[in-house]
């Protein structure tokens, strides 16, 4: 159980707070008495708002409490502990007696220790939140700490340009949508006095209700979605944007189906313009949705308008006709500029008009080019752009596209120009997914890099390689997952596609690639293969093609063991229980699915096999000595499993 304690109050819009979670025992009412940690922790700062570069201090206070009031003092938490303050991004410590994992030992009740952390932000962080953790003396080995609160410092950035401030103002976004007003939904509209607009969507005990929210944002980026809902059991919902980028969100239980709602915030990547944000219950408790509020301050993408490149030492004419392109979905590319000159072998700079910001930019070779750059750089004005590089495959061994983006001109990139996978033209490309801007993953292109066609019977293989993607690649064959990784080697003919993802985005599906079966390849017909079997005299299974049902089989038993008097054969063929006085003969098995046949001699008319020879302790319950006959030593039955492959 947790409780939150605020240690400071909000000061105007910029606030400072310390939120401490303390574990406390079940059933005790006094929070202090119930707190299991004998040490009280708090943090305070000498100012609540700082500028980038401005030094400030945070004090961490630790006080050993009076043990006598504690009924539930745990042996593992005592006055000996280590402290750890998790810094926000952009913060550096400059002074103070605090050190990471500082060891502390408080011996007597009332003993105090104060550790000062002095430092500054060198850049404006996404959040100025400091998190306080406490560990035991074992934490260094286990790496586990207990959360003991946090402190948020508001950070101003005096060096932000007027332009970026304007941009921020323009990008600050908030939109709230009522669940009951959305046309795409499958739950009933119900009333609640506390609900926003007085109404909600979703029925109790129907966890699989959904609401499609139509959101419309001004710029692509990461947005925060706050869902207001009611639940009596913790729900699990699936969140998708336009059917993709699915994420499962486990919502905390609001604790009540009505009156008392809960707000829960999660992040989604949205493209500029209208999108359908689906929130659908998938498990746990039902989720009665009230509304969502979408907020965000996504960074705008910069406008790329210059490239600088150096060509290799030959074939200068192949630069002429190369294109500079941009994309906002990682799939569709727009020409920004076409290079109209030959290369020189030295640095060349091309500036061009462009007003459109793109998440991804790339260089695509001319129709006769193979890449062949020693280096390329992309610019927005005088600012060199940075990001995640990507490029095409296959390339000449030791001349990958990475050499065009490695900051050095000693080795050039060169696309494959001979043999399987050779490709001239714009299929040779290299580019950047721009940091702080790209929210989509780049759709891979599938290229065949080994083999020509396939034949499972002879293990004749083809290798497919994903080219020009960002993230991790997943492969699909005929609609089913076929593996992951940059390349896939396969003996299976069919239609392949691939996509990439990096944990925050998933690309579109690559253009399909058909792998053909070799003309002389005889399809391997399915044949039965015995997976396990027992004493042959008890059960020997014959599996023969069924002439009346192509693709089907006939099962027969040629075991020789005799049937004891008073018993009948019980065969379990799959789930079918068949009782007979004769061996199994031509029993239909009308497909090539795996299976099992079991044979036992059971007392004639036995109602259930849930009877078994009595143990030494005697007969009772389901023990019945004569239910099943012992056929031979070691076998009360025969069992054969089989597959077809």
């Amino acid at each position: 159980m947790h409780t939150n304690i605020n240690f400071a109050r909000c000061i105007l819009a910029c606030f400072l707070f310390l939120n401490a979670n303390h574990l406390f025992a079940n059933g005790l009412k006094n929070e202090n008495e119930a707190d299991l940690d004998p040490v009280l922790f708090s943090m305070s700062a000498d100012r609540s708002v700082v500028k980038v570069g401005e030094e400030f201090s945070i004090d961490v206070h630790c006080t050993l409490r009076d043990f006598s009031g504690l009924r539930l003092f745990p042996v593992s938490l005592d006055g000996e502990f280590v402290l750890k303050v998790v810094f926000p991004e952009g913060f550096v410590q400059t002074a103070g007696n605090y050190d990471h994992a500082v060891p502390v030992k408080l011996l007597r009740p009332g003993d105090k220790a104060v550790y000062r952390l002095t430092g500054k932000f060198v850049s404006r962080p996404p959040s100025g939140k400091f998190m306080l953790l406490r560990g035991t003396k074992h934490s260094a080995e286990t790496g586990r700490y207990l959360y003991r609160g946090e402190l948020a410092i508001a950070v101003d950035d005096p060096e932000a340009t007027e332009k970026s401030l304007r941009q921020m103002a323009a990008n600050a976004f908030s939109q709230c949508l009522e669940a009951e007003s959305m046309s795409g939904a499958n739950g009933p509209v119900t009333s609640d006095p506390n609900a926003s607009n007085g109404q909600t969507r979703g029925a109790e005990n129907q966890y699989n209700h959904f609401v499609d929210y139509t959101v419309n944002v001004p710029a692509a980026g990461l947005y925060q979605v706050t869902l207001r809902y009611y639940s009596s059991v913790a729900p699990v919902v699936n969140v998708t944007v336009n059917g993709g980028n699915a994420q499962s969100v486990s919502l905390p239980n609001s604790g009540s189906w009505n009156i008392a709602y809960t707000d829960y915030t999660f992040a989604v990547n949205l493209n500029a313009g209208a999108s359908t944000l689906k929130i659908a219950g998938t498990g746990g408790g039902s989720c009665r949705q009230d509304k969502i509020c979408v907020t965000g301050d996504p960074q705008s993408c910069t406008v790329m308008n210059k490239v600088r490149l150096q060509w290799r030492a030959a074939d200068f004419n192949r630069l002429n006709g190369a294109k500079i392109q941009g994309s906002n979905d990682g799939n569709t590319w727009t020409d920004i500029y076409t290079i109209g000159v030959n290369a020189t072998g030295s640095w060349q700079e091309f500036t061009f008009p462009n007003a459109t910001p793109y998440q991804h930019v790339r260089y695509a070779a001319s129709p006769i080019g193979y890449g062949e750059l020693r280096e390329i750089e992309f610019f927005a004005g005088a600012t060199k752009l940075s990001g995640t590089a990507f490029g095409s495959d296959p390339n000449v061994a030791g001349m990958g596209w990475q050499y065009a983006m490695d900051g050095a001109v000693n080795i050039s990139w060169h696309g494959q120009y001979t043999g399987i996978g050779a490709h001239a033209g714009p299929s040779n490309f290299v580019g950047l997914s721009i940091t702080g801007c790209a929210v989509t993953c780049i759709t891979p292109t599938i290229v065949q890099t080994a083999g020509t066609n396939v034949c499972p019977a002879t293990n004749q293989q083809v290798t497919l390689t994903a080219s020009g993607y960002s993230g991790n690649v997943s492969w699909v064959l005929n609609g089913s997952s076929a593996g992951s990784g940059t390349s896939i080697t396969t003996v299976n003919a069919g239609t392949y596609t691939a996509s990439s993802s990096n944990g925050t985005c998933t690309s579109g599906q690559a253009k399909t690639f058909a792998v053909a079966q070799a003309a002389n390849c005889t399809p391997s017909s399915l044949v039965p293969k015995i997976s396990s079997s027992g004493f042959p005299e008890v059960l020997t299974l014959s599996i023969a093609p069924d002439p009346a049902n192509p693709g089907g089989w006939l099962l027969s038993d040629v075991g020789t063991v005799s049937l004891p008097a008073g018993y009948e054969w019980s065969y379990f063929i799959g789930s079918k229980w068949m009782r007979t006085s004769a061996n199994l003969t031509n029993e239909p098995w009308q497909s090539s699915v795996p299976g099992r046949v079991v044979k036992m001699a059971t007392k004639i008319g036995l109602d259930t096999l849930n009877r078994w020879p009595c143990p030494q302790e005697g007969c009772s319950y389901y023990y019945q000595n004569d239910a099943v006959a012992q056929l031979v030593p070691g076998a009360r039955g025969g069992l054969t499993t089989f597959i077809f492959n």
């Binding site: 286990t142 699915a246 499972p456 795996p594």
Partner: protein
Amino acid sequence: MKKLILLWVLLGTLTLHAQTIPVTFKNTIPTGYDPTSQAPGFMEVSPNITMPAGHALVKPPTKQSYTWAQTFAKGGTHYNRNELGNEGSLATFRTTYPDKEYNGVPTIPLIFGLPCAGPEQWVDGYNKKCWPNGPFSDAEARAKAHEVWNSGNASNLWIGETMENFPFMPADKPMWHSFYDELAGLYEAKKAQDQKPFFLCHNYFTTSPYYLGNTSKTQADWEVMYTQDPSQWAMKSWFHPGATLSRTNTVMEGIYFGAFDLNPGQAMNTLFCMELWQKLGKYTGMFFFNHHEWAPESFPDKVTFPEGTFFRSDKPVHDPAFQILMGFLAHEYGNIFVDWGTFLKQPASKKPIGYYQPVHQSMDYWRPNAGGPATFPYYYQLGVGLPPQDFYSPLAVSSDYSYFGNLLWMQTGGVVANGTPYYCSYRLDGNAWIDRKVTGSDIVSAYFTKRGIARCRISGSKMVLYYFNMYADNLKHAIEIKHPTNPAKSYTGTVCGSGIHVVLLDI
């Protein structure tokens, strides 16, 4: 007349827009797999693949030469810390694969460090041999949680062995609530920091009042649970809010099935319980034993050698179709599949075969070929203190099949793992439609009418569609399955047998 014309037009329109799409269900056995080798083969025939986030698969490798990395590359998510093999120490594993550790069903003495040195004396449901002072007090139980946590043994996949044998402490004792309340708090604090999911499960199997075979209950008694909040259920479980195990977040179903004729009902009851645990807000999954827990020393299995044939008489192995089906359904009705009973070191030569006195003394039978040795020549005596060595265990291939079920799910259901599940209306051979239940109680209905289940899961433009029938005959049937939200669309195919029929579709 106008009405007739209107009706005719409407019928024509409906006919025009109705869409029947033929589908071919996926082969459940990977290309190239050959069980006649009698050595495990799932590693060789399966593509590298990743289990979707939030789902867990514990699959120990079956040859010493396989690495941890290879197991994870096949979709494994957690690794039994007691079966690390010779690749490295537990410390090395933890450093290399943080938070991929599975605790391997520790017993009560292991969890709490109990010496269990006293005399056997059962009192109030527990044994004073391990519990001389009775159950832990609230404070003791909470302190134990911290001890466990600080020992580093609280892995992200925690499944206990706490409900059997002499250290047993009944699950309804209040100490369990105290222990799990404290332990769950520590897990939750860690999750708040690293965002990694954890599964905290009291025991590898569950006992509960939810048993469809209870003759004092009716079908309606169970179906009504689908229309109620769990707080309204007539029978509460240990996992209900406030109960002793309520602070655990996972309930595992042990697949330890008995006599053959009971299996379809047991399997359906498993799925029923998994649905209930999810309604209670718990994670759930299957702890799968590849053999029946029934009829020991009754069904010999053959291993062939040039010198003769070796048989070991054991409990019956499951039907491969059932193993594949359950590997698949574990993730459709839950999140976790733990393979239990798979063996680690399996030489392709099948030599030597592990032998343990007195367990195997009465189980083994050797039938030499002409001129072969009178006794089996390739035994490896198992026991404490002996040098480690690869050895073979008969029926080694059996666990390939439950893996194939998991693989099948990753290739199909896993693609839409976060999608919305629906039961579907269907019919066989053009007979009457079997309509999906508006309350979602299709499993209960199927149990009582001994029929199959058609279900799907939709995410965006993709849908996994599947059918299974635990009670099936072995004949071909034409099936037609309605799209759950678009009644004008249906899918047709052929089904046969009690295994899984599944296909991933673009819709």
